[in-house]
């Protein structure tokens, strides 16, 4: 248990109750975790790790965190904390999980390492798994589909950003039995450049990456696995990189067996999300912002979902939009940690975003 962070960020709040560390703190999602935890009333930050930036101040990498009085430490030197967040590339957590669990009672992993349920899935979609024995224990972080299992969870797997967007858009249709699971579903995704993480190659340099609509995952592979695992249906997934930094937008084209009305759809989405603190349904209406779009949720933990009926083609188009850095990773991870520890679930995640905003 640690004392409060002395810089008065959470004025009026009681002393933080839990200590936390971030492995991979120099990366993009790691930086978001640091930002959220630094302002979170119930967490006190102990360590942020980086190999390449060790000893440097947090602000050296994340200019928005210049006020933080902390330096990166090597990931080998983990101190004991209450919660450890791992924001490392795929494959790292499964190798280092023993060290992580030794350092912390609760481990929240942002990579794909503990999302799927069985070794067979990792054999099919990835290069196998180093610790299949733990797959049973881990809980998927997305509260909108797994709220019930989070309290007390000690190994939590934060969802993939594209999968999160698709699942949030489609799930109400399954719950309401508008879809049964054997329909063909096209998931056409558009994502920003932060999805690639901090270490990009040629394709992510500004001159090559700006102004694009670029197919980067023409057929889906791994993203499909996660959607299938949680919706129980296979999907036809395609992702495009577009010119924004944050944001993932999924457009799902679905063809229900039986005709549905707009009222049915509103009912399905209301049933699914009316009580969810971070979900909004946006479907038509006036003004500039009529359907979900990443700009409207940029910087926030909110997810927007919406739909339009296409009676001529007997199609429903479902739109969903999230910030891949927040609802799609760091925000989802903290949301799940809040629930695991029994805290107010919105703690540290209240920011509602900006207007106007460019390409955040």
């Amino acid at each position: 248990m640690s004392g409060p962070d002395g810089d008065g960020d959470a004025p009026g709040a009681a002393d933080p109750t839990y200590t936390a560390s971030v492995v991979g703190g120099s990366g993009f999602t790691g930086g978001e975790l640091l930002r959220i935890l630094h302002h979170h009333p119930e967490f006190s930050l102990a360590q942020a790790t980086s190999r390449s930036k060790k000893r440097k101040t947090i602000g050296h990498v994340h200019p928005n965190l210049r006020e933080m009085d902390l330096r990166f430490t090597p990931p080998a030197d983990l101190e004991s904390v209450d919660v450890l967040f791992a924001a490392t590339p795929h494959g790292v957590s499964m190798e280092r999980i023993d060290a992580f669990q030794e350092a912390a009672d609760t481990v929240v992993d942002l990579s794909a390492d503990f999302r799927l349920g069985t070794e067979a899935e990792y054999d099919e979609w990835y290069d196998g798994h180093a610790r299949p024995d733990l797959l049973d224990e881990s809980e998927y972080a997305l509260p909108e589909i797994n709220r019930g299992n989070l309290p007390g969870a000690d190994l939590i797997a934060s969802g993939g950003c594209n999968a999160t967007a698709a699942i949030l858009g489609l799930k109400p249709l399954f719950d309401a039995e508008i879809l049964a699971g054997d329909e063909r579903i096209v998931v056409d995704v558009k994502v920003g450049s932060s999805e690639g993480g901090a270490g990009g190659g040629d394709a992510s340099s500004h001159p090559e990456r700006s102004g694009i609509v670029r197919p980067y995952a023409p057929t889906g592979h791994r993203h499909e696995a996660e959607i299938e695992a949680f919706l129980g249906t296979s999907v036809s997934f395609t992702a495009h990189a577009v010119d924004m930094t944050r944001g993932a937008s999924a457009t799902c084209h679905v063809y229900p067996e039986a005709p549905v009305s707009k009222g049915d759809l509103w009912g399905a989405y209301r049933d699914a999300y009316a009580e969810e603190p971070f979900m909004r349904t946006v479907a038509g209406g006036g003004g500039v912002y009529r359907y979900p779009e990443p700009k409207a949720v940029a910087g926030t933990n909110y997810g927007e979902v919406g739909f339009e009926l296409d009676p001529g083609n007997r199609r429903i188009v479902v739109f969903s939009a999230i910030d891949n850095m927040m609802k799609g990773s760091a925000g989802q991870a903290v949301h799940a940690a809040n629930l695991a520890l029994g805290l107010d679930e919105t703690a540290g995640l209240e920011f509602t975003g900006l207007h106007p905003v460019g390409a955040p």
Partner: protein
Amino acid sequence: MADMITTEDPLTGEEIEIPADVEAGEIVDSPATGAELEVISVDPVTLEEAPELEEDWGE
């Protein structure tokens, strides 16, 4: 320009020109399709589609 030879693009069946001195295992791009082709053998030259670069964009 280095000497070129004519061979068949395995994806399209088209005649394409590639450098004459390619080595087995080398990756050349097809002028017909831009696709990356692996040189399977050199005498005669046979090509097949190169295994896809598994590029993980960090998901």
